[in-house]
Symmetry: C2
Subunit: 408 residues, 2 copies
């Protein structure tokens, strides 16, 4: 068969889902079968599941990212560094901030998550969120600056040393796990009395880590409390101000003064989804079994912008790296089928291996292959999972370069 | 001779002058001859001539300080960590912030320098000064936070990346020398385009490094300009605001927006001097030939709080570490004479070996033993001088611990 024109495959986003799609697709098809274009805001991929470490300052952000050029085959994939403004579904075009519009035959939307503040007043202005590499290192620097300033000021404002974490979900707890290890280092670095530092976690739900096994949750809470975290559960953040937050519990309103507020309680899909006219909820498209947007058979959506209902629980699968990468694999296969016009589309079926929530570099809790684990064992498992994400996208070379392990 | 009571020697300040006095005196006299008390705000000494490196972030502040306990003989010297509030000359007492007043028979005032803003509006509130370890690391963190924030904000405010250094004297130039080396590192660390960064030096005098050899000054200006510093000479800072500074030159007023303003143009002696009723100018006491305050034969003043006129130039000697340490030596000898009631007081005569001004870690200019030097040679000489200060106070052990050298 002779094609008059190679089809244009455009992939938006180089997170777990987008990069998995591209790295798998570049192996499956030949140079002459399709033109692949990858668009990403930065020239690097970052491990968004490691960002809490960069934000706490326990892992340098250079360790959390790698150059996209290191994992794509540049003979097959053209990379454009730019920000996506909108998708024009009618014209099959992607509008970019600084480049001419891109025309696609097949589109993969993998634009990841954004922070969701649920309209809580002041959160957007005064709270940080662990949204990306830039945001993570700003949090690290902000906290360090608070400690440095505390040492300098004549009238000590103890609330400078209070760090509020909004949300006791996965991200909140993992961030707390790093913070409790980081704070003693900061106290030594800036000659600050550790007793002056407060770490407060505020969660509106009646429990920490909703949905997690209660025994493991208790383990996590004990570990973090022992290291100084104060939990305020069943407590809602009403407002964030330049001075801290205002919370309410059982109609009791309280102000908590804090030099740093990190919002880790809500994520949503990309605003590009909303602005492009997809049928969506909070930037997430409920995709068909083959990961396509309803009514747009040439548009795939993978990762945190894709919404899939878990039929066992009748609730959406959580937006995880694990699922995003599995979707990328299926998406690449389905693209190859469409490009070649042969074979059958494969439906997506998540294969959930488990979940591990870290509590600092040396502790964790989790359920893996249906088994509960905690402590050092869970911590090792967490690092295995982190390294696996590197391996799946960049092979052993990338694991050697960015992996989490010690050489003995 | 049997004394009924050992005299109390109280030394205020553990900078170059105070610590030199104590470490020399503890070698000269026996445990039974006098009680020596050293008072200092912190439990560490810092190399104030190295602070510009900590402020720029080119040398960690841990390298710039050492524990006072490491250099004093605790069988002879009692150390009190506290802030001096006032000296009561009539009662021969020193009032401290958190301890009972100290009574002295002999007092050494070595309270060092403070920043002098000459009443320029807003400087105290909005500019940083490289005054001590706490201030230096706050400057470092402030600059890093500006870079981190620039990477995060959607509408980039380029002026965040502008650093204004007020003053092209010794401290200003040495700080600039470190900054020009640090900025490229910061740009890499925070993915910032180096062309967006501005480093501006504003000096009211008609020349950089007033009093320095003009040929050496030209060398320094060329080096710094080549690395990106913009000099505004003959330009006075009129006001400092939260947004930057307002300067004037030849009656032309200009606003320079800047995320960071570091004031490095004025020092004065300690405010404790003013508040204790000494005859003094800007916190500096014009001492007698034996380093005593006029009218108070039991009170010595050494270091930056002592004012001595250079008879050759009819101007005061500048407040340097070299002079402070030489004064400490003479002061210790004179104290020993007074304690023992034998021997003769020795007049102080500065022995100026030279001055080297660094331009980063690998370049410098200076005059040493009357000879002009620059480049690598001057830079090596600067490190020799830095190590000598450690040696004089703490001997070879301290040089090995904190010295500036590379082991090959």
């Amino acid at each position: 068969m002779i094609r008059l024109k190679k089809p244009n495959v455009v992939v938006l986003g180089a997170g777990y889902g987008g990069l998995m799609t591209v790295t798998r697709l570049q192996k499956m098809i030949g140079v002459n079968e399709a033109s692949i274009t990858l668009v990403n805001k930065h020239d690097y991929h970052y491990e968004s599941t490691w960002l809490h470490e960069a934000a706490a300052g326990t892992l340098h952000h250079e360790r959390v990212r790698y150059a996209i050029a290191d994992v794509i085959d540049q003979s097959k994939v053209k990379f454009i560094q730019d920000t996506v403004e909108k998708i024009n579904l009618e014209e099959k075009q992607v509008l970019l901030q600084n480049h001419e519009p891109l025309t696609y035959d097949y589109l993969v939307v993998a634009l990841g998550f954004e922070s969701e503040t649920f309209g809580i007043k002041g959160l957007k202005e005064y709270a940080f969120s662990i949204a990306n590499v830039n945001a993570a290192r700003q949090i690290r620097e902000h906290i360090e600056y608070q400690f440095a300033t505390y040492s300098t000021e004549e009238e000590k404002r103890d609330e400078r040393l209070t760090i509020v974490v909004g949300g006791a979900g996965f991200t909140g707890i993992e961030f707390l796990g790093e913070l409790v290890n980081r704070v003693p280092e900061l106290c030594r670095e800036y000659d600050v009395d550790p007793n002056k530092v407060r770490i407060i976690c505020v969660e509106a739900a009646p429990t920490v880590l909703p949905g997690f096994d209660p025994e493991l949750v208790e383990y996590a809470v004990n570990v973090l409390e022992k290291k100084g975290v104060e939990f305020k559960i069943g407590t809602a953040i009403k407002e964030c101000t330049p001075e801290g937050i205002i919370v309410s519990k059982d109609d009791q309103v309280e102000e908590i003064k804090a030099g740093t507020v990190v919002w880790a309680a809500g994520v949503r899909g990309s605003r590009v989804i909303d602005e492009s006219g997809f049928e969506a909820m909070r930037g997430r498209v409920k995709v068909d079994p083959f990961l396509r947007a309803p009514g747009h058979e040439d548009v795939f959506v993978v990762g945190d912008c894709a919404l899939i209902i878990n039929e066992e629980t009748n609730r959406p699968y959580p937006p995880t790296a694990q699922i995003a990468m599995q979707q990328g694999e299926v998406c690449a296969k389905n693209l190859a089928v469409l490009i070649r016009g042969q074979g059958e589309l494969q439906p997506f079926k998540p294969d959930l291996k488990g979940t591990v929530c870290s509590l600092g570099h040396d502790d964790a809790i989790g359920v893996v292959f249906g088994k509960k684990i905690w402590g050092a064992k869970a911590s090792v498992m967490k690092k295995v999972i982190d390294n696996r994400a590197l391996y799946l996208i960049g092979g052993p070379t990338l694991v050697a370069k960015k992996g989490k392990f010690k050489l003995l």
